[in-house]
Symmetry: C2
Subunit: 461 residues, 2 copies
C-alpha cells in the first residue's frame, strides 16, 4: 500500500510543463542576474582570515558559524581501516526551503539566482531559503533572510515535504539540514524579490540537465519530490520521451509494504555489519597532515585542502567576507547504474559508511569516485569501470556543483548509465537494485539516502 | 491512511490471552530459574578489574567491549548550558530480538529468564536474543548465542518488526540497537533451550504490570508492537476492562497521514530550535569529577558513579567476569500523563535533548525525573508535581529496571497518570498530546522516541 504523498499529482503535472509565462527563459534570467552583480573571489592564507584562529581547531573568535577540526576515524568498512582528516563541524540544523504555488493550475517553485563563492559557475538556482541558524540569527551581521517566515514554526504553511537529511559525510561531521517544500495558497500574494523567479518543475528539470545551473541545496530539496502512484495524467504518455517515460514509470510503480520492509531490513543488516568509530581530535594531532599559516593539507597532496577565501560581492547578504573553504582534488564523479528489471527501471544503490554521517551508513550512488581519497587503482571502488561506459548506454552526463558556500571548485560529474537487460553485473552484498519510487520512500524516512545519491535523484525527476 | 503493519491482528489476539498451556505460570517459571542458579555480585574498586585500565578513558586492554570516556556537553536546551560527564561508548549495533510463533493459532513469544548482574531483581524475562557484536563474535570467550541465526541476514525470517532504536541518551554515546520481532512458521520446530519459555502477549503484559519481571531490552522490543486499526476482534470488548479498553482504542484509532506529517513537522521544529554540541574528552579533563582507583564519581555525589563489579554466575555465557558499571543515584522516575481528548486517550510527550542521542532530540515521557541530575527544586522539570498525583488518577505505578548488563541498581519508577477531562494542564511548546497509535508510528520511524518513553509504552500494550 502506498501512503498518501502531499502534492504528488501537482508535482507530476508541473514536471511536464517546460514553459511558463512567469519566466520565459530560465537560462537568460540566470545569466542576467550574474551580469547584474560583481564578484571577486580570491584565495588567501588561513592566517590572513580576519576573526579566524588556527589552533587545535580552526574557528572564529566568537565561536560561531562553523569550525574545522581534526577527526580520527576507525572502521572495518572499505580498504582503509584507520585515518585522520580535517572535517567541518556545524552542529546546528539549517533550513533549505522552497516555496511552491500554483499559477494557472500549475505548481511553480520560487527559486533564487544565488551567488556562491566556491562554485565555478558563480550564480545558480538555489532554494527560496537556504539559511543556517547563524544566518537567520544574523551572526555575521547580514540582512534578514527573505521568505524565512514561510518555513518557521507557526507560519501559514502547507507542507509538501519536510525531512532532516544528511550532508556530505566525508566533509561535514553529523551535518544535517531540514529540507522543506511548502505550498502557498493560489490566492495568496507572494512578493517576488530581486534575484527570485518562479519556475515549473519542467523548467528546473531542463536546467538540471544542462549542469551547473541548480545548486546542491536546491537539488537535495528537489530529491524529496514524489510523483506518487496516482492514475495516469491524461497527457502524460504523449509528453515524455523514451527515457523520461521510463523514469516516470520507475517513480510511479508503487512499492509494496513488504518490499519496503525487506529493503529496510537489508539496510539495517548493512548498518549492523560494519563498525565506525570517530573521535574529534586536535588538528595538530592528525597523522599525515600539515597545518600552517597557508592552509591545512595532506602531506602527499591527497584528500582535500582547507584554504582561506576572501569574497567581495554585491548580491549576497553581506558584501564582503572571509572564510575557510574545503577544496577537494578535482575529478570527483558519482554514477548510478540502472537496468530494466521486470519491465521497470531499477537503480543500483550502494550502502556505504562515511565518517561524518549521523547514522554511520546510508545509501549512496552505485559509484562514488574521489581521486583524492583513493591511493591508487587498488583502492578504486567496485564498478569504477562503468564510468567509461559506452556513449550508447549513457543517459545523463553532466557537471553539478557541491555547496559553494563551504566547498571551493567542488564540481562533481553526475553520470547515469543504463545497462542493457541482457548484461549481467556482479555486485557485492552491500548493493541493491531499487526503483525510484523506493528510493524516494527511503529518502522520506530521513537518514537513509546520502546527499550524493539525492543529487543524482534530483536529476532523474 | 494507515500503512499495513505486519502481524497487527495476531499481536492483538495474543494480548487478550492471559493463560497458555505452554507456560502455565509465568511467575513460577521465573522464580524456578532464579532458584536453579547462584549469583554472587560484588562491588570492587575499578583498579581491581582484570583487563581494564583507567587512563584518559576506562577501557579493556584489547580495546574491545566498551569504554567509559569523558564527554563535554554544550546546549541551549534546559537549565544547564554546559557540563562534563562520563559516558559509555560502544559504537557497534547490537541485536535485541524476540522470536514469535503461533501455537493453536495464538502468537507466543520465546522469552529468556536471564540473569543480569546490575538488576535488583536478578532474573527477569529478556528477549530471545540480546547480543552485542562483541557477544556474538565471542570477544569474552563465552558460548555461542542461542537463536542468533533467526535474526541474521539470510535466515528464514518473517519480520514483524525491525528498527534501529536509541538507548539511554544520558548514559550511552550514540548507542543504538536493532530491535526485531521475527515470526517462525507454525509448522517449524523451535527447540526450547533451558531458561527459555513461550509466553503470550497477555502473559507478558501481566508480568509488566507486576514490575521488575521484564527487562529493559525486552521492553524496548515490545514497544514496537502495533495493533493496527483492523476491525474489532469479535470478543475484544468483553475481554478488556475500562482502562485497558481505553488503551486499545488509543492504539487502534488510525492516525491520518496529515496528522503524522503535522507531528513530524512539529518534531523537526523542536530539533531545529535547540543546539547540542558534544565532544569526547579525557576522563581527566572533566570538571567536577573525581577519577581514582575506586571509582569515577561527581565531587558532590551527584549524577552517577562508574564502579567496578565482580560477577560469579552459573547461568550466563561466562561463569565469572569483571566489568565497570554505571550506578545512578536512586529515585529515578518516568511518567506519562494522559487525558481523554475527543473521546480517545492521548498521552503527553516531551521533545527532549539528551547528549548521547544519535539525532540529538527525541520524544520522551511527560516527566523524566533523575534526582542525581537536578541540583535542586529549581532544576526540576515541568510538571514534576504530577509524580504525586492522587491515587484515583494513577493507572500504573511500578518499578522497572534499566539494562542490568551495564547499569547497577538502576530501578526506575514507571508512572501513568490519567488527568480528568475537565482538568486543564499548561504545557510548554516542546510538549505534545498524541495517541498510542501515533506514538507507535513514530517509534517505527527510528530515532524519534527515546528508550524511557518506549519502556512506558511497553507497559501500555
Amino acid at each position: 500500500m502506498q501512503p498518501e504523498v502531499n502534492g504528488a499529482d501537482d508535482f507530476l503535472a508541473s514536471a511536464l510543463v517546460q514553459k511558463s509565462p512567469l519566466t520565459p527563459d530560465a537560462g537568460a534570467f540566470l545569466h542576467e542576474r550574474e551580469e547584474s552583480a560583481s564578484y571577486d573571489v580570491e584565495r588567501i592564507p588561513l592566517a590572513a582570515l580576519p576573526n579566524w584562529h588556527l589552533g587545535d581547531r580552526l574557528s572564529r573568535a566568537d565561536g560561531k558559524f562553523f569550525t574545522v577540526e581534526g577527526l580520527s576515524v576507525r572502521t572495518d568498512f572499505g580498504p582503509v581501516p584507520q585515518w585522520s582528516q580535517p572535517i567541518i563541524v556545524q552542529p546546528e540544523i539549517g533550513i533549505l526551503g522552497i516555496i511552491a504555488k500554483r499559477f494557472d493550475g500549475v505548481l511553480h517553485f520560487l527559486m533564487q539566482a544565488k551567488m556562491e563563492p566556491g562554485n565555478t559557475a558563480f550564480v545558480q538556482y538555489a532554494a527560496t531559503v537556504q539559511a543556517t541558524q547563524s544566518n537567520y540569527q544574523r551572526v555575521h551581521g547580514g540582512r534578514a533572510t527573505p521568505y524565512l517566515e514561510y518555513f518557521l514554526e507557526g507560519g501559514r504553511r502547507r507542507i509538501l515535504f519536510d525531512q532532516l537529511l544528511s550532508e556530505h559525510g566525508f566533509w561535514y561531521l553529523n551535518k544535517r539540514n531540514r529540507n522543506m517544500i511548502v505550498e502557498v495558497p493560489e490566492d495568496e500574494d507572494v512578493h517576488v524579490e530581486d534575484d527570485f523567479t518562479w519556475l515549473t518543475l519542467g523548467q528546473l528539470r531542463h536546467q538540471l540537465m544542462l549542469g551547473n545551473r541548480v545548486n546542491m541545496n536546491a537539488r537535495t530539496v528537489l530529491s524529496g519530490i514524489a510523483y506518487g502512484a496516482a492514475e495516469d495524467q491524461p497527457s502524460y504518455a504523449e509528453q515524455t520521451d523514451g527515457f523520461h517515460a521510463e523514469l516516470l514509470t520507475s517513480h510511479r510503480t508503487p512499492s509494496s509494504s513488504a518490499a519496503l520492509s525487506a529493503t529496510l531490513t537489508w539496510l539495517f543488516d548493512q548498518k549492523a555489519k560494519s563498525n565506525l568509530d570517530v573521535r574529534r581530535i586536535s588538528l595538530r594531532d592528525m597523522d599525515e597532515w600539515i597545518c600552517d599559516d597557508d592552509s591545512i593539507r595532506h602531506r602527499d597532496g591527497r584528500i582535500f585542502d582547507i584554504i582561506g577565501m576572501s569574497v567581495q560581492a554585491t548580491s549576497r547578504e553581506v558584501g564582503t567576507w572571509w572564510q575557510p573553504m574545503l577544496e577537494p582534488r578535482p575529478g570527483n564523479a558519482v554514477a548510478l547504474i540502472c537496468q530494466r528489471r521486470d519491465g521497470v527501471l531499477h537503480f543500483l544503490l550502494q550502502a556505504t559508511i562515511q565518517p561524518g554521517l549521523t547514522d554511520r551508513l546510508e545509501l549512496g550512488p552505485t559509484i562514488q569516485f574521489s581521486p583524492g581519497y583513493h591511493r591508487g587503482p587498488q583502492d578504486f571502488p567496485p564498478l569504477t569501470q562503468y564510468l567509461d561506459a559506452p556513449a550508447a548506454w549513457t543517459r545523463l552526463d553532466t557537471i553539478q556543483s557541491e555547496d559553494g558556500g563551504r566547498f571551493s571548485k567542488a564540481d562533481t560529474r553526475h553520470l547515469v548509465v543504463e545497462i542493457p537487460e541482457d548484461h549481467a553485473i556482479e555486485t557485492p552484498d552491500n548493493y541493491r537494485w531499487i526503483t525510484l519510487n523506493m528510493l524516494n520512500r527511503l529518502t522520506r524516512f530521513g537518514y537513509h539516502v546520502n546527499v550524493e545519491a539525492r543529487s543524482l535523484a534530483a536529476c532523474l525527476l
